[in-house]
Symmetry: C2
Subunit: 266 residues, 2 copies
């Protein structure tokens, strides 16, 4: 799924099964990790539960997608972020662990406008200068042009590697949320749908021809609502447990799709 | 993977990444859930780390595999089981939630030997009688023969449904541990192996012909040690993160194998 723009849709009831904030945090962490492992470009949180925790899920996912060196500056101390220490790091290319290197792409936080442009925190020992007038207090991507007395950077994003996911919390039901993403193929997952094994070629050809794919997941208590999808599929045929949790379904399904879309790319 | 006997091998370093007992518990829980979802018959814990926590991992996995109505009796209060409350239930056929029904299969704890046989706790309002002399304090499977003034049961296990996993902690390295399972096909997983997409037919035909399959997983810090395997495979081709954790690899890999082995069973 290298060239495809991939969105996954998860319900705001994701965290409803447990009252334990640490476990809620870890559960959202599993979604963030699955998204990163399989190169998901967008996580859309739709509303399906009166007690849904969309804001919490969004904050945890954004926290994970933010490089370590910016987290404290971007995320104020919040009670609901109390347990972020247990979140596994993504360890993706957009989270470098060393000092900046010339030519490298790097995320930065725009800190202050100055005469020459904008000062940006890219996790170096001093602020870097971008010669453009940028809105402050935003996380953006840059390329390091020159290191020296002054660190010179310019806005840029690499196209040849995974650069993290964006998070959208729509506060809308699934069908309205789906409109925020202009997907040409919508895949709905359900244990009551045809097993992937029986419609493999159909799923494969639909996804291969697509530019933007959306994969929809239901909540832990109820599956997906009725929705217009290009294909309904059960990605876990023959499941031995009565239910499969959203975070389990996301990892299992992305694993299958990752394989499916690479089979002919040998 | 319905007819195949499936074992997974996980390292005792599984829980080493975190010092938080609640997260350790949940992490092992993910392995138990993945095993149940995909019908794994055996989880073998091998030794790969001086600080490995094989005993803890074994206890949590066994706890999960024990039906709710027996847990308190089988597992004494132990400090390391403090957080079992956050474990998701398996919700498999061998964990019935209702009262016993005639004809039903049910796990029971042998409690006491009596003249007529053995009294067994099967989660009914009274102990059931099995007319055989059984070792006490064991969890076994039974079939309910008759309900009435007396509940009559006999040792039996169904063959047509998933009946949970057994847990083996070998306290040995991987290669010795492998001998405890008489697998005819051994699959070793590694990110440095051939992508599953490029050796799909080979993997598929090997697994399909097998009676007993073992899938081996490495630890969070290092992958698998050198080992004689029938096939080495990367089940997460093109991973975008630098590492994939054991619990993530288990779920992703079982998902791929579940699909693979069912493709021709339409």
């Amino acid at each position: 799924m290298n060239r495809v723009d991939l969105s996954i849709f998860i319900p705001d009831s994701l965290t409803a099964e447990t009252g334990d904030l640490k476990i809620k945090t870890y559960k959202v962490g599993l979604i963030g990790r699955a998204a990163a492992i399989f190169g998901v470009n967008r996580i859309v949180i739709y509303h399906d539960d009166a007690d849904g925790e969309a804001g919490f899920i969004r904050d945890i996912l954004n926290y994970m997608d933010t490089p370590q060196y910016l987290r404290r500056k971007v995320f104020p101390i919040m009670k609901e972020l109390k347990h972020v220490g247990i979140l596994p790091p993504l360890r993706t290319p957009h989270h470098p662990t060393g000092k900046p290197v010339a030519g490298e792409y790097r995320q930065g936080l725009t800190v202050k406008r100055v005469k020459k442009g904008t000062l940006v925190d890219i996790g170096a020992d001093k602020l870097a200068l971008c010669r453009e007038k940028l809105t402050v207090n935003r996380v953006m991507s840059f390329r390091v042009i020159r290191l020296g007395k002054e660190i010179l950077i310019e806005p840029d994003e690499p196209e040849d590697r995974y650069w993290g996911y964006e998070v959208l919390s729509t506060e809308q039901g699934l069908s309205k949320s789906l409109k925020t993403v202009d997907a040409d193929v919508v895949v709905a997952t359900s244990r009551y749908a045809s097993p992937i094994t029986s419609i493999l070629d159909e799923v494969k050809s639909k996804v291969e021809g697509a530019r933007r794919v959306a994969i929809l997941f239901g909540g832990p208590y109820k599956g997906l609502p009725e929705i217009d999808a290009d294909v309904w599929v059960n990605t876990i045929p023959g499941q031995r447990t009565e239910t499969v949790r959203t975070e389990e379904a996301v990892l299992a399904t992305l694993s299958v799709f990752n394989m499916l879309t690479q089979i002919d790319e040998k």
